[in-house]
């Protein structure tokens, strides 16, 4: 029973219908419509990136056609720019600190909000959601005034502090969405069957929210790295990468360097994510199966009630 559920869960829905010529044609059209749809979506998503890569080798610092000739000197310029180096390093360090903290805080909060009913819940939920909805520009300025009031020196630490507070609600939202749909029945079943709490956590809950955790981690890192509004106001005199980018809007040469450095960053990220992908694939065989089986059990269990 378990394996059947697992197989059927991964098979496409269409195969449940006995194939006839008409259906095969329809499924062809459907497949191709899906492909066209995906093509357009990814075109829109990556188009701007491709354009910037194109302009990063353009022998001109103006972002307009026609192209003036190929050059790599923007890349060498980027290489030699000390301010840029410092900014990048700062951004990476900050993001590497912010992301794990947000993951922990956000998951705790998601648990707290979805699993318990207590009178203050709507208020807490509102408080948690608030940093996501207030313009970061305002949070940044308010944070600056706050730090000044309490005589805290502005530095990367203040940036980290405010970024953490503004980013962990994102993790809460993503993990919370998945926890919402989670059937408590499984947990109770597991406990009834004699699992310890640690085992329940490790084998049932964590695999279930693993995709949400992974997505949140990536998002938290990205948000922190790309954050401009908060960093600009809570930084001392060190720069982070987005602050450097914005400051370069007034300097045409910098715009072209930004294209070059963005291309490099994107390539690095492609490499990193591909490696992560391969790594996950190699390891995730077992976990994925477990998740599906657990899901299947849940349906079976809830179908009985």
């Amino acid at each position: 029973m378990a394996t059947n559920v697992a197989e059927r869960a991964t098979a496409p829905v269409v195969t449940a219908i006995p194939p006839t010529a008409g259906v095969r044609f329809r499924s062809h059209a459907v497949t191709w419509s899906w492909r066209a749809f995906l093509f357009v979506v990814y075109l829109v998503l990556f188009g701007p990136l491709v354009i910037l890569m194109l302009f990063s080798i353009n022998d001109s610092n103006v972002l307009a056609f026609p192209l003036e000739g190929v050059t790599f000197h923007w890349y060498t310029d980027a290489f030699h720019d000390q301010l840029l180096h410092d900014a990048l390093v700062n951004s990476i360090v900050v993001a590497c600190i912010v992301a794990p903290i947000c993951l922990v805080l956000g998951t705790l909060t998601a648990f707290g909000l979805t699993r318990f009913r207590f009178r203050a819940r709507p208020a807490v939920a509102g408080l948690v959601g608030a940093p996501l909805i207030l313009p970061w520009l305002i949070i940044g300025i308010a944070a600056l005034m706050f730090y000044v009031r309490f005589k805290v020196d502005l530095s990367l630490n203040t940036v980290i502090a405010t970024q953490v507070v503004c980013t962990f609600p994102l993790v809460t939202a993503i993990v919370g969405a998945q926890l919402f749909r989670f059937q408590r029945v499984q947990e109770e079943a597991a406990i009834d069957l004699g699992c310890s709490r640690m085992q329940v956590l490790r084998y049932i809950i964590l695999p279930h929210i693993a995709p949400a955790l992974a997505a949140s981690a990536i998002f938290a890192f990205t948000w922190s790295f790309n954050n401009y509004e908060i960093s600009a106001f809570t930084l001392g005199f060190q720069q982070t990468f987005p602050v450097w980018v914005y400051s370069s809007v007034r300097n045409p040469d910098h715009t072209a360097i930004v294209n070059a450095i963005s291309t490099v960053i994107s390539i690095i990220q492609v490499v990193l994510l591909t490696v992560a992908l391969l790594f996950l694939r190699a390891r995730s065989g077992d976990d994925a199966a477990r998740g599906i089986i657990a899901g299947g059990e849940a349906v079976a269990a809830s179908a009985e009630t």
Partner: protein, 292 residues
């Protein structure tokens, strides 16, 4: 891990008992941080909003900023523009995000991880840089006009159209991911049962997919819709002169005119509106879950 134990134990005996204590343990750290590092600055901001102009403490207190802000017809006009542009962009994103998430979860098979990761990758680049690229795409002599024959279409760029398109393109990732996460928790065998019972894809969507993915959809909306209401970068770069948005208004009031009072007041008003919206969406999401 101790807090997680506390979380699980009461579940066995029924949901309501021990709820408060368990929640307190788990939520203590996050909530404290929020109060200190978030509410603190907000309180200061609120304080600024009642100071008379110019904004220093010796000016005296006043509520006039609020009355000015709420009665200025210009603000209402900007609010309306912002609202309809953001809503249009949100609808477009949902129209793309829901099918995309569905495909990734149920149809993609081995490509799922690749699609997911590339979706995330697309968003890695600093937003301002990408928005400049849209100028090249939508411009008078840009890529779209190069592809489409005839005289150049000028309303593609520096117009509300440009803002909507760019906003939609910028936030697709954040729309799709929460919906994806919610759909992951749906058991695909339900769809097979539906098909066996004779339901076409529309009924399946309406009765199964959307309600089950609803928490994800609402989270996506909260995550994306509200930032769009306060966005100013996009409108600055591709909006031209005719699509001024609320985010720009607040920014200009504070950084342009130095009118901290009006800017803070306006901002707090927007915060209240956003909180109301979020609570509403949250309640709707929960309600929906109980019904299924």
């Amino acid at each position: 891990m101790a807090t997680a134990d506390v979380a699980i134990a009461p579940a066995k005996r029924g949901r309501r008992s021990g709820g408060g204590r368990g929640a307190f343990g788990i939520l203590f750290a996050p909530v404290t941080l929020l109060i200190v590092l978030f509410l603190g600055p907000m309180v200061i901001m609120a304080f600024m909003s009642i100071l008379k102009f110019p904004p220093n403490t010796s000016s005296g207190r006043t509520l006039s900023h609020y009355t000015d802000v709420l009665t200025d017809p210009l603000n209402w006009k900007i609010a309306w523009t912002t609202l309809w542009m953001s809503t249009t962009a949100m609808i477009i994103m949902l129209a793309i995000g829901i099918p995309l998430a569905y495909y990734m979860v149920f149809r993609a098979g081995k490509w799922e991880l690749f699609l997911l990761l590339s979706l995330v990758l697309a968003d890695e680049l600093a937003p301002v840089v990408k928005i400049y690229a849209w100028q090249v795409i939508l411009g008078r002599n840009g890529i779209v006009n190069w592809v489409i024959p005839g005289p150049p279409i000028t309303w593609l760029l520096f117009s509300p159209f440009a803002v909507i398109v760019t906003l939609a393109a910028s936030y697709i990732t954040y729309t799709t991911i929460p919906i994806y996460a919610a759909m992951k928790a749906i058991d695909a065998s339900m769809f097979e049962s539906a098909v066996d019972l004779g339901a076409g894809w529309w009924v399946q969507s309406k009765r199964l997919l959307i309600p089950l993915a609803a928490p994800g959809i609402f989270i996506a909306m909260i995550l994306v819709y509200i930032p769009m209401l306060t966005d100013f970068v996009t409108a600055d770069i591709v909006g031209g002169t005719g699509s001024y948005m609320m985010g720009q208004r607040v920014r200009d009031l504070i950084l342009g005119s130095g009118d901290w009072g009006a800017g803070s007041a306006l901002n707090l008003v927007m915060l209240v509106v956003s909180i109301v919206f979020s609570l509403l969406a949250y309640k709707l999401a929960r309600l929906n879950r109980i019904q299924t």
